[in-house]
Amino acid sequence: MSKKLFNLVSVLVLTALILAACGPAATPAPTEPAQPTGTILERAMAGEFKGAVVTATGPFVDQDAQKFEAMIKEFEDQTGIDVQYQGSKEFEASIKAAVTAGNAPDIVDFPQPGLLSTFVAQGKVTDLGQFFDRATLEQTYNPSWLDMAMLQGPNGKIMAGVWERVNGKSLVWYPKKAWDEAGYKIPATWDEMKALMDQMVADGSTPWCVGIESGAATGWVATDWMEEIMLRTTSLENYDKWVAGTLPFSSPEVKNAAEVMSDIWQDKYVYGGQAGIVKTSFSDAPLPLFDADGPKCWMHKQGNFVTSFFPEGSQAGVDYDFFYFPPLDAAYGKPVLVAGDIWAAFTDEPAAIAVLEWFTHGSHLKSWMQAGGAIAPHKDADLSWYGNDIERGVAKIIQEATSVRFDGSDLMPGQVGAGSFWKEMSSYVAGAEDLDTALKNIDASWPK
């Protein structure tokens, strides 16, 4: 009898234990913290959050992830906080599932503010405004970056993230050695560029290499071109209205930009002809610049990341170089199109906020800039920190720009910016539909 009772008791105890383990963790008794002094980062540096673990995710993998690890190690050594980063090639799908299931990592790197704004609107993202002081941030960021991080939450605008790295997009790459040998001059204006293009055609070669194929994202290169030309042919107000959805695609301004683009994307100006544009992968598009039999095309417009697609062993400043995609109308100055990575927090744990605060200082990126592959948006990042001239040059172009605007398609709602804008531009370039239809279809897809 007593044995049975013992069994019963032990079963009950075990059940209780299991239930307790499954239930929510008991909240620790609120201990009165010592009155914190200084910013969260200073407290972290003083070792206050030693032993804390911060989980992080983002779209960058492989080499970029290794450079990130090398960079974040400095922070870990100083604070004792363990930052665990795990990138994913299917970042957009996996982060959506994780956030919906309430399992988001502490901090997340978003390559586009568009996706982040969806989560902000759902009220899932921590408002960093409660931790950071705007006046302090303005010491390290240009105000336009801070404005771009303000996103609409359910209870008004919040500071949704901090910018860490940027890409310059308004760049034209050319094969320097052959270019100099042929005696071509870098065009400073749109007209000079058009003259140069005709000269190249007369010399029996094709000026441009363009490729917009990119799997499910086919067409994004075309949207970059459109944005560049919009910045060069109309006012910044119009560009912002266009991105916000108040200036329709069928307006004369946007239509004109598409026409200026088609004016370049003709059979005689593009290697492989207009029909080849949609079929050429954006990653293979620059390769004809480096053909063993001399360049098959001479110019390729793409962001600074494109150097990783250049053939192995080609040297910056010798085999290739870049120039600023020339301005079209002097009235609109020298605009630069950029994209960048913004980090957001899905927690208000001080250790995670400390990492983000560390990102707001240009100095954190020093080792990555030195290693190559990162450009800082920070004002306090020194040009001499860059490990190569290309990235230093790109950073200089961004600094000297009369205006900086973020990649518009990344800011538009997902259905448009990562959907109809790509698709309709591809159909238009492929000749499957005319320009008016394409623009009308994009307008129709804009969420009401």
Partner: protein
């Protein structure tokens, strides 16, 4: 008449085999292309097709002729004894069995003398395999301005992770499904038919719709990001098919065996362990192949339930990462695909003799 018969037979078998061989060839051409490409350099893959490794006739360069300094390239030029304009050279000028063709731009180009002859592209390299197995190279600039080349991640860790996911995810559903199949086939209990129909109906539930709810449950239970989570998910998604397949096989076993076992006083468990399991080996093995290949090739389930945990990348995730953040290293996929293929191929061929028998499980009612 009589003598014709073997000939007829021979001809018809020739036709059948010929057609089969042709279909096999067509079917494997993409794989062959992938295999050949995995041994070629990125720029080679881009500029010529993999079929150029076979001997074929093409224009081959034999000499170069460059116009002398100061020659006006806008007027007819004399090169190698022939005089033509740039445009004519660019289109190619036929001289005897040779062709003079202008390569490149008017300003910096030259004339290539080409001959039409047999040639084959034989520039092979093991570099793709080296980078996949040992990790890709990347260069970084150090603080003192020197550049170093470092090795990226290799595949060994993800191989072990995939095994740690695939083996339990194959064994658990088979064990459960074999019990269930026996129960449905040979045990009498109320609601048996309804329950079985329910299990079969679960076959049509796409796993994608269940991902987020399951993830939510795992987060509540606190097991998300562990191997256990992936095992459970694969088990759940694999069970309906496993139960159905094994049921068909086990229910076809001769009734007499079971009756004599019962008369001898065997319990259900004894019958299951001593009789059913050994008799069902072909069906078990064929489902094991199915499930193992499915789990090994799975990307989505792994990505959602374990992908966010550092150091627990599966082979499929690693394969996706090999191409780099922006897909710049796509050429490594060819070699990566063949390396990840090795293990499933081994599993398939070692269990293959069960496979055909198992596939027929329950297909012929007798």
């Amino acid at each position: 008449m009589y003598a014709d018969k073997p000939l007829n037979k021979f001809l018809s078998s020739l036709a059948v085999n010929g057609v089969l061989a042709l279909i096999c060839l067509l079917w494997t051409i993409p794989t062959i292309g992938l295999l050949v490409s995995s041994f070629r350099d990125r720029l080679d893959i881009n500029s010529t097709g993999w079929w150029t490794i076979f001997p074929h006739q093409d224009w081959v360069k034999v000499a170069e002729l460059r116009p002398e300094e100061g020659v006006d390239r806008n007027t007819p030029m004399t090169l190698g004894g022939v005089t033509h304009t740039f445009e004519e050279f660019r289109d190619g000028v036929q001289v005897g069995n040779q062709r003079y063709k202008w390569i490149g731009n008017r300003r910096i180009g030259y004339v290539q003398v080409q001959e039409y002859r047999w040639t084959a592209n034989t520039d092979f390299t093991l570099e793709n395999y080296r980078q996949v197995l040992a990790g890709g190279n990347y260069t970084a600039t150090l603080k003192d301005g020197t550049t170093v080349t470092e090795l990226g991640d290799d595949m060994s860790g993800s191989f072990l992770n995939s095994l740690a996911v695939a083996i339990p995810s194959t064994v658990i559903p088979i064990a459960l499904a074999a019990f269930a199949a026996y129960g449905f086939a040979w045990m009498r209990f109320p609601g048996r038919k309804m329950l079985f129909i329910l299990v079969v109906a679960l076959l049509v539930v796409p796993l994608q719709v269940a991902l987020v709810p399951i993830l939510r449950d795992f987060v509540t239970l606190g097991i998300n990001g562990t191997f256990l989570a992936v095992w459970l998910a694969h088990t759940g998604f694999g069970l309906p098919l496993a139960t159905y397949l094994l049921y068909n096989y086990i229910s076809e076993l001769p009734r007499d065996i079971f009756e004599s076992a019962f008369i001898d006083g065997a319990s259900h468990f004894t019958i299951f362990a001593q009789l059913v399991l050994p008799l069902a080996v072909p069906a078990l093995a064929s489902f094991a192949i199915f499930q193992f290949l499915w789990v090994w090739n799975d990307y989505l389930v792994g990505l959602i339930f374990i992908g966010a945990t550092p150091g627990s990348q599966l082979v499929t995730m690693r394969l996706a990462e090999i191409v780099g953040s922006r897909g710049q290293d796509w050429h490594l996929l060819t070699a990566g695909a063949f390396i990840t293929m090795l293990l499933p191929l081994t599993v398939f061929f070692s269990l293959q003799r069960f496979f055909v028998r198992g596939l027929l499980a329950g297909s012929v009612k007798g």
